[in-house]
């Protein structure tokens, strides 16, 4: 990758160690993705906010970085560990470490979004704009549905891009890489619920070897709920950063059938039942809350039900009366946070959870180490209310 003279100087340390490190990261990912040069980006979305994901070394690292650095572009951040407006039983250590992380990002000028769905909250740049999104589900969603151009960035590469305002011009930032060469076909399976879409994405992520894959049997227009489900499933299992739907001429096809769907379900759904219900990985938006509200139709949940939501969406839902209607089912909102690696759910207090999210199921099982019953939202409401 060719750096400009001024970029070379910063890499050599002319603006200090933090900027030099940022350019070291950009150079490495530029090499990895065979970029020719760096290009400006308009928006960075950073992961690595929840203390449970980055730990003490992450806390210290961000404190060092935050000294003397201001983000160059609009920067939003992923969910943190808990809801700031609610009491919790987390340790003093967790709370203070989490606050140190939040302070570091604030100091650098990040918007306190605490959301994995920034595309549902903020004004979107026009199609074709280069951005740098780390959250895997948001990167896949933004490439696939919003026409934004990002590689599947890492927590550290998006941070480097927020600091420098640049990312490598490579891979999914180049139009020709956005045409899939492999198309997934559905062989004898019906993809109906959001959980089916999530599973399909999860399986495809394991198959995909390119940065973009096609689902040739899916309609090119998709509702928000299945769109978020398939994007997050794909982001969870693979390194693929984009998909298209509808037929793709001249592509090689790979079939997914009953056997693959059953295998993925068995892998993620370890239990028949669970102690509590969790919705919101990715965090729910207004259309999903409306769908949930319609399903509940006056019934009450027979066990605890947590809805993860960004504060912005929650406040909007509150304003239009939707939040209180949903709460009358006994469900509770949990803002600022997400179910993945939530410190609130551990093996000490929970045997298993029920969720409609493939991504949530994967992280609950593999990181939180609790059992999972994976069912779609309609089935969950029918069974447990």
């Amino acid at each position: 990758m060719q750096l400009t003279k001024s970029e070379e100087k910063i890499l050599a340390g002319s603006k200090g160690e933090v900027y030099a490190s940022a350019y070291r990261v950009l150079s490495a990912i530029g090499q990895a993705t065979e970029a020719e040069k760096l290009v400006p980006i308009e928006w960075a979305h950073i992961s690595g906010v929840n203390y449970n994901t980055i730990g003490d070394t992450g806390v210290d690292f961000l404190q060092e970085v935050a000294n003397g650095v201001r983000f160059r572009v609009r920067t939003t951040i992923n969910p943190m560990g808990y809801d700031r407006s609610k009491p919790n039983t987390l340790s003093q250590n967790f709370l203070s470490k989490q606050m140190q992380i939040v302070e570091s990002y604030k100091k650098m000028g990040a918007t306190q979004s605490f959301s994995c769905t920034p595309y549902e909250i903020f004004k979107l740049p026009k199609k074709g704009t280069s951005v740098s999104f780390a959250e895997s589900s948001a990167a896949v969603f933004s490439n696939s549905f919003l026409g934004l151009m990002t590689n599947k960035e890492s927590a550290l590469s998006a941070l480097a891009s927020a600091i420098t305002g640049k990312s490598p011009y490579s891979d999914l930032r180049i139009e020709k890489s956005r045409t899939p060469r492999v198309a997934i076909k559905c062989r004898g399976i019906a993809i109906n619920t959001e959980t089916d879409y999530g599973l399909l994405g999860y399986i495809a992520g394991k198959i995909a070897n390119d940065s973009c894959i096609a689902f040739s049997d899916l309609k090119s227009r998709m509702e928000m709920m299945p769109a978020k489900a398939i994007a997050s499933g794909l982001g969870t299992s693979g390194s693929c950063g984009m998909f298209t739907s509808g037929n793709v001429p001249k592509s090689e096809s790979v079939a997914i059938g009953e056997e693959e769907m059953c295998k993925a379900t068995d892998e993620l759904s370890t239990d028949e039942d669970g102690d509590l219900i969790m919705f919101g990985s990715p965090q729910l938006g207004l259309s999903e809350l409306t769908y949930l509200h319609d399903l509940i139709a006056g019934r009450k949940f027979d066990r605890r039900c947590i809805i993860f939501c960004s504060r912005y969406i929650h406040d909007q839902a509150r304003k239009i009366g939707l939040a209180s209607k949903v709460e009358s089912s006994g469900a509770e909102f949990m803002c600022d946070s997400c179910m993945c690696l939530s410190p609130l759910i551990t093996r000490d207090n929970t045997d298993s959870i029920i969720t409609n999210s493939v991504k949530g199921a994967y992280y609950m099982k593999s990181s939180n180490r609790v059992g999972v019953a994976l069912k779609d939202m309609k089935t969950i409401v029918r069974t447990y209310s």
């Binding site: 090499q31 990895a32 992450g58 599947k152 299992s237 390194s239």
Partner: protein, 136 residues
């Protein structure tokens, strides 16, 4: 000893034993960020550690936070000596190695076991874009 060419992603030099994974790695869920142990029960290298090994794997998948796991391993002296990607070098791995000064190279090779076996002694010379492999 024989030599194979590779592509430099993060500069550096390392000599040690290879730990070769056939399957992609999600650093956040599969690797213990303190000890470097592979904690995924379904992984064929379950219980083995990345610490002081030259870790060879196809590419990383899933969480974008995996880059912090590499940084944490390095800080806790539990990190790999070097990394070799055998299918493609992904952004999570490249950025994690860059910030942690872990030498990283890419060696495109679909059947990596034919070239590097588990426990085989290697030298990764990222600057010189070559891997020196000792006979087994």
């Amino acid at each position: 000893m024989y030599v194979v060419g590779c592509k430099c992603i993060v500069k550096g030099f390392a000599e040690g034993e290879a730990l070769v994974s056939d399957t992609p790695i999600n650093f956040l869920t599969m690797i213990d960020a303190g000890s470097g142990e592979i904690k995924d029960l379904n992984h064929n290298l379950y219980g083995q550690t990345l610490k002081d090994k030259i870790f060879v794997f196809p590419y990383s998948v899933g969480s974008s936070v995996g880059a912090y796991v590499l940084y944490s391993l390095k800080k806790k002296s539990s990190g790999p000596l070097a990394i070799i990607s055998s299918n493609r070098m992904d952004i999570t791995t490249a950025s994690g190695c860059a910030i942690s000064n872990i030498p990283a190279v890419h060696l495109k090779c679909l059947n990596i076991h034919q070239v590097i076996r588990n426990s085989q002694a290697l030298i990764v010379d990222a600057d010189g874009e070559q891997i020196l492999i000792y006979p087994n």
